[in-house]
Symmetry: C2
Subunit: 230 residues, 2 copies
DNA sequence: ACACTAATGGCACTCGATGCCAAAATGGAA
DNA sequence: TTCCATTTTGGCATCGAGTGCCATTAGTGT
């Protein structure tokens, strides 16, 4: 689903971490995540650094086999601090996903109004999942981790919900309905279904990915249409 | 998604608990769940009793506000024992869901071969979610809990996966494909998408549920078709 | 009564997560 | 420079889910 703007090298380069750290979408709770201001003590680490440390450990000990303490040690900060940057261990692999939702919204709005709604949504989803070849390997690893680790698979629905919402809102706007109405909701759910199927197929393929993610999403979409029309 | 065969009264009557307790689908691990055999010490409780106790507490303290210790006390058994009946706290609300999958499989097989695949699947899903009026209120409460509690919402994907698999296998068989191929997978994902949308709409409606679940699923399905054809 | 079998439940322990708070660390003002 | 307001850090205690271990209990069959 994701689509991290620029380059996001996983183990060696820089992690997503775009723009100055923003406030969490799931507002006011216990500790307030760092937001590198002018005044006050500067942050001891960054999302990027934490994710790099975490993925390094995940690669060797697996997700479940890596404790938060270990990640903290690897990142050179206190465990307590990690929990200020990420609400939970499960949130680490997703990184700054929220950030990309604005981009997704923009992509949908870019679609010409002449296009039928379903086609516009489809195009938006495809574009959202198209990115430079050099950003693909790390993205692939990230998604593989997420889609093959049960805990993460489960946790991800909470992320998907925000993503679906973007679609539901777009469809609602274009069909004069409310985002909570049945059709917009179905559109969101089905778009997610398509994407997930596509990702699973994508991850199954040999690394010499002949068909890219966009192509597979296209294929899943046309597959759905032919399936539904017998 | 579910469909517990007979009567399954939530707070007052009997919980699902059909058939003699079977082995867990996710096989051999730590403690082996009870399977009331002839020999040996008899079980101190049952899935039904545990679920009743649990739901009683969930109703007053909420899901998160209810500890496993509390459930154990309410059910009159040790905490350790509860964990032998359910792999996790999150598994309690779903009850013996696995059991219903065989029934689902049977429903699909019942569909006439003359019916187009998508129609057969649709019918199967609809039938799966049709049940006696007196079983509805508790089912509704159960699903409301599951679909409105983030932890449960997330955890449920693991259950849904098995359910989707049933569809993927059916579609694969009828289209001479493999269950892991793109189209069967998409069919499973999309059927789930439809069902979830329908459930959400169903739960939103006032209790005087004019349209039942089957009708809403139908509506979601036709909605999808018209959405996809502009 | 005795052996066999299988579930129970207490205990200790790991790990994720949270509240609390004193101790950094920084920029700006006196 | 020193003090101050500000903001993050990280240690500590605590809670709750989940697991391994194992002696105990409660049946069945002989």
């Amino acid at each position: 689903m994701p689509k991290w703007k620029g380059r996001n090298v996983l183990t060696s380069g820089a992690m997503p971490d775009p723009l100055p750290d923003a406030a969490p979408t799931t507002a006011a709770e216990g500790p307030t995540p760092p937001r590198s201001s002018a005044r006050g003590r500067p942050g001891a680490t960054s999302h990027a650094a934490i994710e790099q440390a975490a993925f390094r450990l995940f690669a060797t000990h697996g997700f479940a086999g890596t404790t938060m303490e270990a990640i903290a040690r690897e990142a050179g900060v206190g465990k307590r601090t990690i929990f200020r940057y990420y609400q939970s261990k499960n949130d680490i692999p997703w990184g700054q996903f929220d950030r990309t939702l604005d981009h997704f919204r923009a992509l949908l709005d870019e679609q010409p109004d002449g296009l039928p709604v379903h086609a516009a949504v489809h195009q938006g989803v495809v574009e959202f999942n198209r990115f430079p070849a050099d950003a693909e390997p790390p993205h692939r690893e990230r998604m593989r981790l997420i889609l093959t680790t049960p805990e993460l698979q489960a946790h991800s629905v909470l992320r998907y919900a925000e993503w679906r919402r973007v679609i539901a809102e777009y469809v609602a706007r274009r069909t004069q309905a409310r985002p909570d109405d049945l059709i917009p909701q179905v559109a969101g759910h089905v778009s997610l279904a398509i994407s997930l199927s596509a990702y699973e197929a994508w991850l199954t393929e040999p690394d010499a990915e002949t068909p890219g993610l966009p192509e597979i999403i296209d294929r899943a979409m046309t597959g759905l249409r032919s399936y539904l029309t017998g």
